[in-house]
């Protein structure tokens, strides 16, 4: 993620790049250039009179824009690097700017600081566990990064165990680092996942959809069977229900949700509820 202090300029506009405001929710393609909204909206013509001494009327105040995944700042141009829909989120405290990103469909995970992921322990070396998270490199996880862990009191983690944790370091060209505690030292749901249940992989887009605050799928699934479920932002889902059969059904439903419309989904859930 790159933060951007922006000086929007018309000189580079030409006629080809599209304004970001006009393509919100539309499909953008890699290599496309976007223009950010102009600053003039913030200081309207009414205020103009208050600055008589300013010789250069073209100067605009700075505007904070965050480029999310799929966008990249290149000089003072904003380029699209992924194929998908352009999204925008208004910033919390007034003013303009905000966050722009591209909702794309992909399977390969790239670690992002703060993401909650499911990893598989691949090795124990000294005081560090190596955890496979599906990224280009395994993440490292210190044995002290568990709730209540001390030098004497080591957590019981075996090779092949599942870990639900959070990235604290996720930089380019650097080994990512995970922890299983929050800033207060509490587990907060993180740690080693139980020995039962099924792990399966879905696309990253589906995970984001399922984790959206207003997602109906999770509520509908919850009504079906009592279940335990963990979503990792790296596209892994761990699910456990009472029986193997139920677990399998849940896994297959969640996987199928990606290619179903809301109506089709409701039909299937209704059919399952009957049986």
């Amino acid at each position: 993620m790159a933060e951007r202090g922006l000086v929007a300029s018309e000189s580079l506009a030409g006629c080809r790049p599209r304004a970001a405001r006009t393509v919100l929710g539309q499909v953008v393609l890699p290599g496309e250039e976007l223009l950010l909204p102009e600053q003039e909206e913030t200081d309207g013509p009414g205020v103009a009179g208050e600055r008589p001494l300013r010789l250069n009327a073209g100067v605009r105040s700075r505007l904070r824009v965050v480029c999310g995944p799929g966008l990249r700042r290149c000089g003072d141009r904003l380029l699209v690097t992924k194929c998908g829909r352009l999204r925008h989120k208004e910033p919390g405290c007034g003013s303009s700017g905000g966050i722009y990103w591209v909702d794309s469909q992909q399977k390969r995970y790239v670690p992002v600081k703060g993401d909650h992921v499911i990893g598989i322990v691949t090795a124990k070396s000294g005081d560090i566990f190596k955890v496979d998270v599906g990224g280009s490199e395994p993440a490292s996880l210190s044995y002290l990064a568990f709730e209540g862990a001390t030098k004497r009191n080591r957590p019981n983690v075996q090779v092949g165990d599942l870990i639900y944790g959070q990235f604290v370091v996720a930089n380019k060209d650097m080994e990512p680092e995970m922890v299983c505690i929050d800033s207060c030292g509490r587990a907060n749901g993180m740690g080693v996942i139980g020995q039962d249940g099924l792990l399966f992989k879905v696309t990253l887009g589906l995970i984001r959809k399922l984790l959206a605050p207003d997602c109906e799928i999770i509520q509908e699934v919850g009504k079906l069977y009592p279940l335990e479920i963990v979503f990792g932002m790296n596209g892994r889902i761990w699910v456990k229900a009472k029986t193997i059969q139920q677990t399998l059904i849940l896994a297959n439903i969640l996987e199928a949700c990606e290619h179903m419309t809301a109506d089709q989904r409701k039909q299937i859930f209704a059919r399952l509820a009957e049986s």
Partner: protein, 450 residues
């Protein structure tokens, strides 16, 4: 890239599910995944999909000198490639154990079973009786090369590859040749129809995965099942129930009964698959004959992603037009905006209210610097007096004003709607007002002012 490790919980779950006779994708123990065969636009090119496992088969041919010990037989060559595209754990350019094993099995299944009549691939036969003095280059046979590429790996590569190989061979057409004396003529497809290879039978591999030392058996294991299996038994068979190859790997002890049962299952599966292949070949043949569309582009179904889809609310558009007309009828007609152009001087006109003129700022600041001397102030005062006159003059559009750029010393801002006195009093006061007003700048000669 390293292979994604299999977690303990997956392994445990899979084994428990197999004990309960359940599989991850909802199949039964002896079920195959869906097989889909599609053909390319050229002969001898096909893609076989076995669930999510995909193999591309491509057959090509070439006229070469035969092998010395088999002078009357064509050459068959098989090559399976496992690219990184299939799975990130496959390393490019390295002969992994798995690849060697698969290639060997494929050769045994297709070449050693003599499913292709290699003698029919001979063009100019080499006769031993000709002796050593004859040129070995004169003998010519067809070399048939079968290239198989794994496009996606989801387990059971060998079954998919063997189906792809035999389908591609069945689909393939080689150019026709004729021999007259020593001369070999090769015909293009336009001149003579290419000829199909003569295929005696279709050997097809069927894989069986064994779990818990052979207690449980699964047909067509997928990738995750392959990772937890203990042993694998591959049986290559044709539809006449003739076993072409049988191979057991993984080091499990199988009983005679188990192998017999597997061969029975294989017989059923091979019959089904052969039928499917023949149907696919017939379909393709029919489409080509009828001149319909064929090729990969036609056979690949579009799978739509609905993850980010937002449902659109249905809108009733039946009475939109009436409504729009109603709204227009009810609305007040727009007030007519008439702006009168005002001509301040000849060549300077204004329409409407006007906005801030940034030139005014600039002039003001310039003038500030100028207005230092006392005599300037006097001049200004004089000017003030005639500004009023000037305005009226402008109104009559007959002002005796001569504009010239030659003399810079006097610059005046005329503000007709303001009290001219105010301008002269304080420069600071003027500064504040200036941007709001609409100053009209003029340079004029002293002479004209008089």
């Amino acid at each position: 890239m390293k292979e994604t490790p299999l977690s303990n919980c997956e392994r445990r779950f899979l084994l428990r599910a197999i004990e309960e006779k359940k599989r991850l994708d909802g199949r039964q123990t002896y079920d195959y995944r869906n097989i889909k065969i599609s053909f390319g636009t050229d002969y001898g090119c096909c893609i076989v999909e076995l669930g999510k496992t995909r193999v591309l088969g491509q057959v090509s041919c070439e006229l070469v000198a035969p092998k010395l010990n088999r002078a009357t037989e064509g050459i068959l060559f098989f090559n399976l490639e496992l690219s990184q595209m299939a799975a990130p754990s496959f390393e490019p350019g390295r002969q992994s154990d798995l690849l060697v094993k698969l290639n060997r099995l494929l050769e045994r299944c297709l070449r050693n079973s003599k499913c292709i009549d290699t003698e029919s691939l001979c063009v100019v036969a080499g006769e031993k009786s000709r002796g050593l003095n004859s040129d070995p280059c004169a003998y010519q046979v067809w070399q048939i090369r079968v290239d198989l590429h794994l496009l996606n790996h989801d387990g059971n590569i060998i079954d998919a590859a063997s189906i792809a190989a035999i389908v591609a061979l069945c689909h393939f057409r080689r150019p026709d040749v004729s021999v007259q004396g020593e001369e070999v003529t090769l015909y293009t497809p336009e001149e003579r129809d290419p000829v199909a290879l003569s295929i005696h039978h279709m050997p097809i591999c069927v894989s069986f995965a064994f779990f818990q030392q052979g207690t449980y058996l699964l047909v067509d294991p997928n990738e995750r099942e392959e990772r937890v299996m203990d042993g694998l038994l591959v049986i290559a068979m044709n539809k006449h129930r003739e076993i072409c190859t049988i191979q057991s790997s993984g080091g499990i002890m199988l009983l005679k009964d188990q192998v017999l049962r597997c061969s029975k299952i294989a017989g059923v599966k091979v019959a089904e698959i052969t039928e499917l292949i023949q149907k696919a070949l017939e379909n393709d043949q029919k489409v080509r004959k009828e001149g319909g569309k064929f090729g990969f582009a036609e056979s690949i179904a579009n799978q739509r992603i609905t993850t980010f889809k937002m449902e659109k609310a249905p809108i009733d558009t039946s009475d939109v037009e009436e409504k729009a007309e109603e709204i227009i009828a009810e609305a007040e007609p727009p007030s007519e905006v008439v702006s009168k152009p005002v001509l301040w001087t000849s060549g300077t006109a204004q329409i409407g209210e006007g906005v801030e003129n940034s030139w005014g700022d600039l002039e003001d600041s310039e003038k500030d610097e100028d207005e230092g001397g006392s005599d300037e102030a006097v001049i200004l005062d004089k000017m003030k007096m005639d500004t009023g006159v000037e305005v009226s003059d402008i109104g009559s559009q007959d002002a005796p004003i001569v504009l010239s750029d030659s003399e810079e010393e006097e610059m005046i801002i005329l503000e007709p709607d303001k009290n001219p006195k105010k301008i002269s009093t304080q420069t600071s006061a003027k500064q504040e007002k200036a941007p709001i007003k609409k100053p009209v700048k003029r340079r004029k000669k002293k002479r004209t002012a008089n």
